[in-house]
Amino acid sequence: MRIIYADNNATTQVAPEVREAMAPFFADDYFNPSSMYEPARRTARALAEARAAVARHLGVSNPQSILFTSCATESNNTAILGAAKANPCRRHVVTTAVEHPAVLEVCKDLQRDGYEVTFLGVDARGNLDVGQFVRALGPQTLLASVMHANNETGVLFRIEQLSRLAKETDPAILFHTDATQSVGKLRIDLERELPHVDLLSFSGHKLHAPKGVGALYVRRGTPCRPFMIGGHQEEGRRAGTENVPYIVGLAKAMELAARHEEDERVRVGGLRDRLEQGIEERIPFIQVNGRGAPRLPNTLNVSCHYVEGEGMLYQLSDAGICASSGSACTSGSLEPSHVLRAMNVPFTAVHGSIRFSFSRYNTDADVDDILAVFPGVVANLRRLSPYWDQERNCPRPDAETRIK
């Protein structure tokens, strides 16, 4: 069966060019880049070149601003806990209610340690209120951590504006952004367009590098203490022998992403738009989560009223289509997506969300196939539903009252 992979916000396939770039470092070039002999110098040079490439693709002039980590979660932990450690006099953090758990849970842990944390809400489209952000900043604020693109809905936050406002309020407030979903999908030019961002995290496996490598941009001079302590690697800012093959892979992946940037925006964006439109035409009572807000070009999060997400995923998977859902049954907890709840997605729809996320490896045929299968999937479930009027193909008049 043909597999249609439409879950690229979860992870991506490793690009063949990336595999190829990594290969020598699993073979002859296995040396520790910290060693002194000549073969190891070659490895060290590859590491330096990779660092320079990653910096260049982020619009950063000093490669030493890039720290390599094991994943975005480690980058986020380093940024948030490192900032708190470096500024022990301040006890307040501002973040949003829709962050990835790798930020949200770290902030909650700070809360347990006595920090005050402001979790900013969003409106129904997923937008932050800038006024609320400004009002949350105070003399105790040490860090504002606001994601660039939401992993579930693809909604983009105006990092440029928010970071500027944080710095104009108080230059000592650090600004961190989790850019895991935007690096590789959008062009990022830190020094020119985001000069007020101090810390930016991302990982490789969202942009066709393998799992197990991430990076953290730390603007030089940013007070941020190390999270991993040990050897002198990364100038003492992140201990542990550098994962050279994966770092080389990440650099290659960023180079490819830069090359495909227009394709991602135009063609992949076109696939998403066509899928969105097709679903709207074919399925009644749906809502596109995040519509009306600026969004990533590759992400579609759609909720089908009166349908539960897990049932949709199961059927899609049966047809070879890989997607994901924010429903409670798929999240491992008893609650549906915290992102959709923060957006006040109605109860009738919050369990019925499904996310399709494309990459440059998706094609028109993928969209056709999804459109051929998905309406049936939803109809199947609605047929089973006590809230659905089969004949008129709409919710029963009393549905909304019964669900409460």
Partner: protein
Amino acid sequence: MAWEYSEKTKQLFMDAVHGKPGTHLGEIENPDGFGEHGSLACGDAMRFTFRVQRHPTDPTQDVIVAARYLTFGCTSAIAASEALCSLIERGRYTPIQALQVQNKDIVDFLGGLPRQKIHCSVMGAEALESAVFNWAQQRGVDLERLGIDIHREEQQEGRIVCKCFSLSEPYIRRKIRELNLRTIPDITNAIKAGGACMACHHVPGGLQDLLDEAWGKGGGGPVLTQITLPAAGAPLVPATPPAEKPLLSSYQLSKKIEQAVEQYVRPMLRQDGGDLEIVDIKELLVYCTLSGACKSCAGANQTLRMLVEQTLKEMVDERIRVVQV
């Protein structure tokens, strides 16, 4: 405790606290270079500002013509600040040349400092570095390209060794070599590290380890910048605290700001079909957005600065700053 200060040190201190003409106490308004070092919590802190005579074409040829300090600290901290300003002004240095002024020069100028007080001279040198860095930023001078490394990062990054004074491993390591520090007391005297709880003296990765790393185990006898001079009985005159400005409560302040906006700013904007919304007021920071015709106006930022900020400065408080949301 009466430190054994040199006559020069005592003299400079007395002149400063009595505001004798010719001293350098104070702060330059809108300085060309602004630097700080130390903190209230650490027991001494210095704010150092300078003005340059700007070179018409090449900022690296700017010449420092005035230097002022505000220092929170002991006799020698104030004398060292005074010494720093005198040295800088006397030399008619460019900011980059001024970086050549080292803590040792300050000690010499003062005719020596008690060894426990060497850190006062180091503070001056650090504040100077910081001010030159600020000048470079203001004037668009790329110090790194000129081959000048002023170590901006190291205090922010790397592991903290001395937690009491928040001093990092790279900073201490550099200072050990630069100032030729051979023993833990040397380090404490020069940069205060290890001077409070002393927990960092012999722990793994502590001061002794850093010394051993620099000089080898059991390396080097006690060598230190020459320090001298007896003559006890230095009068201990406390530095005058900065005059406090009578302040409005933040509630009164925001009321006044809102009134001024209502009475003066709004009517002016409305003449041109515009308006403004106050998003938040935090003490002296006023956040607003322009609306109506102003919103799409290319000069919106200019309008905020010139009209709104200027009006509020005049009507309410000169320290007000307007932030466009």
